[in-house]
Symmetry: C2
Subunit: 354 residues, 2 copies
């Protein structure tokens, strides 16, 4: 979504590599099983797209920050990637997922390890859970440590801790709501599902990194508020585009079986929007069959589209660009910040499967 300069990308990659290789080495000094945990933990943080660090840096530059004179910037940027990795590892544990990007994740790797140690199915579960809990804890702490010890002025560090504090609590609230909204017979209202998307994803993935970059560049309070509000909306739009991809996207775009969200009967705003239409009974019947196979998936896709929910979701995403522009104008953001927010909103739009 954002392309950093080669130099900036290298600085972020270096900061992450320093943190992760330090973790691996220290873990290795504590014995063989700790070494395996260190490797799995570092691997969990190594393979991402590094979107969140890019947002920190792009916002820093957009608010006039000079990357050549920002010794703490790279560590703060790297911290957001580690925070993301921590959340992913713990999210996978909660969801019971043993793979990510087609290879065993921390939990999967340690379930295999339990088998190799002669364990039974119960041992596999326990060791997989233990490793996932601990890897996430180590990543969460490392993210926090990088910011606590980054060479930035004390007021900036205090501001970053306010952001982090909110990011932890809001994301936890979103994760919990996400699990609770999957329970029981009744589909939650669209407003609740959108709020969950905001809390679980938009806050720590967009709002907080953009705000951190603006803060480090010395942006005024009102400007940071505007960036945070726009970041939140862009983040929700990002999640809605993700839902569209998981529902209508091709295998190539989704990186998994087409219609995976339908097969998993995921409760997304896309579904609740359909539930608010007169065509819901037809959609509901089609959705109920979707887990049975590809033909039923295609039927559910057709009914969802016919209900207007697909189009309505696209409109919600498209509204984001307009809203970001308004917020930018109201807060008199610098030109580069306006351009950045518009570019992000446009990049989210481009992800919509057509």
């Amino acid at each position: 979504m954002i392309v950093l300069s080669d130099a900036a990308q290298r600085e972020v990659d270096d900061a992450l590599e320093v943190a992760l290789s330090r973790l691996r080495k220290r873990a290795a000094s504590l014995g063989e099983s700790a070494a395996a945990l260190g490797e799995a933990t570092a691997a969990a943080a190594a393979g991402g797209k590094r979107l969140r660090p890019a947002l920190v840096i792009a916002a820093f530059e957009a608010f006039g920050g000079d990357c050549a004179h920002a010794p703490g910037l790279w560590r703060v940027a790297a911290a957001f990637e580690l925070l993301h990795a921590a959340f992913v590892v713990h999210d996978d544990l909660i969801d019971g997922d043993v793979e990510r990007r087609g290879v065993p994740n921390v939990m999967g790797a340690f379930r295999q390890r339990a088998r190799a140690l002669g364990g039974d199915a119960r041992d596999e579960r326990t060791l997989g859970d233990a490793a996932a809990v601990l890897a996430g804890d180590l990543l969460l702490f490392e993210a926090t440590r990088l910011i606590a010890t980054a060479p930035v002025p004390a007021p900036a560090r205090a501001g970053l801790f306010v952001l982090l504090d909110d990011a932890l609590l809001v994301s936890a609230a979103g994760e919990l709501a996400d699990v609770e909204q999957a329970i029981g017979e009744s589909l939650p209202p669209t407003a609740s599902l959108l709020r969950t998307a905001r809390d679980k994803t938009a806050f720590y993935s967009f709002q907080a990194p953009l705000s951190a970059g603006a803060l480090l560049a010395g942006a005024a309070e009102a400007q940071r508020s505007a960036v945070e509000a726009a970041g939140s909306e862009i983040g929700i739009a990002f999640q809605l585009a993700d839902d569209l991809i998981g529902t209508f996207g091709s295998r190539a775009q989704a990186g998994r079986e087409p219609g995976a969200d339908l097969r998993a009967a995921k409760r997304t705003p896309l579904i609740s929007l359909a539930a608010e239409t007169a065509l819901w009974p037809r959609v509901a019947s089609a959705l109920a069959l979707a887990p049975t196979g590809p033909i039923a998936v295609r039927e559910a896709q057709r009914e969802l589209a016919a209900s207007g929910a697909r189009e309505r979701t696209v409109e919600l995403i498209e509204d984001t660009q307009r809203s970001a522009r308004t917020r930018a104008a109201d807060a008199a953001l610098p030109r580069d910040a306006v351009v950045l927010l518009a570019a992000l909103a446009a990049a989210v739009e481009e992800r919509i499967p057509r």
Copy 2:
């Protein structure tokens, strides 16, 4: 084990109460399910004996620190209690425990909540796991945040982060080893089980809090090393005493069914010490039957004692006092620090069930 002055105890309690009520209030502002998470998280940190904060403060005073002029001390002390609470919540998740001190813990409370929401057994597990993961994350972050933002000089904060960093990794290594050592047929050697006790418990519960207090009081590097080494030994002794209580202690002392460790077939150094004697075959047969009921438990207790393993464990604990005295003398610790370490070793000895 340590009795603080009323004033010091009040300061610690206040620092914890401020942190936890702040967490509860902020969580409540994020909706009903977040409010429930905030309540459960705060409850998980509220009921402990506050041993670790007491160690921070006792060490601070023993090294000449003046509690009346230590604005950051109470937050640092409180942070160690929150760290402990985080580990307990995540440990319970790993062990699948749904109660602590006879009432539902975070996981137990949210399994009940899932039932109330109309969930099935799978929903109960998922929501319980989610809440336990998230509550532990919030507590871990809050512990870190308290130290990162405590009013202490920058070098002290840096030193505290080195300690925290080690505490996280060493405890994770110990927790993982603890799970792995329960897998498979063969009993690990005593040295490995003692090391796990050191890593999982002694480091963050004794070594790190004592060292943090000494650091805040301005103790010299060599003195801190001596305190850390003694703290580690006292912590291992504490765990060995715990094993004796879980194996031989009365219901009153253990706070649970007598011989609970035998019923759960726990692999403790006490067991591996027996395995190193000629009487092991008899002990092993008795241990194999112990989970069947109270008569078999008593038989296993008799055989363990007859093997000499019980006496050997008591000796290991009793050695601690001597060793602490030697370390204190070698590093020329101040008199109050010598007294503190001796008092801690003596308090651990007093826990030995006779």
